[in-house]
C-alpha cells in the first residue's frame, strides 16, 4: 500500500485504508475502487491524501540503485545461504515493481 496525494488518485485504484470525514465517520471503506465521482467528492471534503493498494512503480534506474544499496547491506554476509536467499527475494520483489 502507499499514501498518495489526492491529486495523484486515479479511477480503479483500490483504497487500502478507509476514508473518514472530519468527525471520524467512515465515508468509504477499504477495498473500494476509486471512481471519478468519488475522487471529486473527496476533493470537496478537502481531503489531502488517500492510502491505496499496490506499490509505487519504480523506474529501472531507481531499481538498480536500490539493488546496489542492498548489496552493500549484505556485504558482510556473503557466505551465508539464508542471507543469500533473503537478498534474492528482495531483488525479485524489486524487479516486479519496475513500471
Amino acid at each position: 500500500m502507499r499514501k498518495i496525494k489526492l491529486s495523484q488518485a486515479e479511477p480503479d485504484m483500490i483504497l487500502a485504508k478507509p476514508v473518514e470525514n472530519e468527525k471520524g465517520i467512515v465515508m468509504c471503506g477499504a477495498g473500494t475502487p476509486l471512481t471519478d465521482a468519488l475522487i471529486e467528492r473527496f476533493k470537496e471534503m478537502d481531503l489531502e491524501s488517500v492510502v491505496v493498494e499496490g506499490d509505487e512503480p519504480l523506474d529501472p534506474a531507481k531499481v538498480s540503485w536500490m539493488k546496489k544499496l542492498i548489496e552493500e547491506r549484505f556485504s558482510r554476509a556473503k557466505d551465508c545461504q539464508v542471507c543469500e536467499d533473503l537478498k534474492q527475494i528482495m531483488f525479485e520483489r524489486l524487479d516486479k515493481r519496475v513500471g
Binding site: M1, R2, K3, K17, V51, L69, I70, E72, R73, F74, S75, R76, A77, D79, C80, V82, C83, D85, L86, K87, I89, M90, R93
Partner: protein, 276 residues
C-alpha cells in the same frame, strides 16, 4: 579506550539520573514480590502517573501486542500481559520518550524489530510472542543509555561507524572495549528482568553464545537482521549479519519463510509509515 568499561558499568548500576528510575520501577518490583498486594493495587500505583499510564496503554494497544484497542486500564494490561511484560513496558515508555526525541531512526528501527519478532513468532507458532516482541522493542536500549550518559563520546562513535561503513557494535567494541548489548545486559540485571528478556537484549549480535532462552534470542536476532536487510531506520553502516546454523535450525528458516516474512514486514512497515 574512549569510555572506561568498569566505570561505565558502575554508573549503569547506579543509574538514578536515568528517567526510567523515577522510583516507580523499584516500587513496582517491591510490590510484585509482596503476596499481600493485589494486581489492582499495583495497577493503581502505575495509574497515579497519568502520563506514564497513557504511554503504556498506547504501547499496549498498538498492534504490537495483538490486542488492538481493547486494553483500557493498567490493571487489565497486568492481567493480560503479566508482570514482566508490563515492567518492560514501563521501561519502554520512558526510554522511548528519550529515543523518539534524540534518535528518531532508532525508535523506528526498534518498532520495526518488535513487529518482525511478532511475525516470526506467528509464522513458527512460538509462544509468548508479546514478551519476545517486547525484547525486540528494547533490544537496542543500551544505545539510548550510552547516548544519554556519554553524549559527546558516543556521538563520535556513531558517526565513526557511519563514515567507515561498519556496524555500530563493532565500532563500539573497537573504540570503547564493550558494546551496547553488554550495556543492555547490565541494565537488565539492575532491573531484575527475567532471562527470557535479558538474553535476547544481551545476545542479539552473537546469538550462538546465549546459554538460555535460545529461541527468544534467535527470534530477536533474525528480526533485527530482517529489518537491517530492508534498511528500515538503520544506521548507514548497518549490515546484515551471517545467520548462525543454530538460528536457522531453531527457527526452521527456509526460503518460503523468508519470502513470507519480507512481504508481511514490508506491509507492516508501510502501514507504520502511513500512520506516522
Amino acid at each position: 579506550m574512549l569510555i572506561d568499561k568498569d566505570k561505565f558499568q558502575k554508573k549503569v548500576d547506579k543509574l538514578d539520573s536515568f528517567p526510567a528510575f523515577h522510583g516507580i520501577l523499584d516500587k513496582f518490583n517491591e510490590m510484585v514480590q509482596d503476596p499481600t498486594i493485589s494486581m489492582g493495587q499495583i495497577g493503581d500505583l502505575i495509574s497515579q502517573d497519568v502520563a506514564l499510564s497513557m504511554k503504556i496503554l498506547k504501547l499496549v494497544n498498538s498492534a504490537f501486542y495483538g490486542f488492538p484497542g481493547r486494553i483500557s486500564t493498567i490493571t487489565h494490561a497486568l492481567v493480560l500481559l503479566g508482570y514482566d511484560v508490563v515492567k518492560g513496558l514501563i521501561l519502554s515508555a520512558t526510554v522511548f520518550d528519550l529515543m523518539s526525541e534524540k534518535w528518531a531512526d532508532l525508535f523506528k528501527h526498534s518498532l520495526a524489530v518488535s513487529k518482525a519478532s511478532g511475525l516470526i513468532c506467528e509464522r513458527r507458532s512460538i509462544p509468548d510472542a508479546e514478551e519476545i516482541g517486547l525484547a525486540g522493542l528494547l533490544h537496542d536500549i543500551g544505545k539510548v543509555v550510552l547516548l544519554v550518559e556519554e553524549p559527546d563520546i558516543y556521538q563520535k562513535v556513531v558517526e565513526g561507524a557511519s563514515k567507515r561503513g561498519i556496524p555500530l557494535y563493532m565500532a563500539e567494541q573497537k573504540l570503547m572495549g564493550f558494546d551496547h548489548s553488554e550495556v543492555a545486559g547490565w541494565l537488565c540485571e539492575r532491573w531484575h528482568l527475567p532471562q527470557r528478556l535479558t538474553m535476547p537484549l544481551t545476545y542479539h549480535h552473537r546469538p550462538a553464545e546465549a546459554e538460555q532462552a535460545a529461541k527468544q534470542v534467535a527470534v530477536v536476532f533474525m528480526a533485527d537482521n530482517l529489518v537491517k536487510a530492508l534498511g528500515y531506520g538503520t544506521q548507514p553502516g548497518a549490515k546484515v549479519s551471517p545467520v548462525p546454523d543454530e538460528v536457522t535450525e531453531l527457527l526452521q528458516i527456509d526460503r518460503d519463510l523468508l519470502a513470507e516474512l519480507v512481504e508481511a514486514l514490508e506491509n507492516e512497515l508501510e502501514m507504520m509509515d502511513v500512520e506516522a
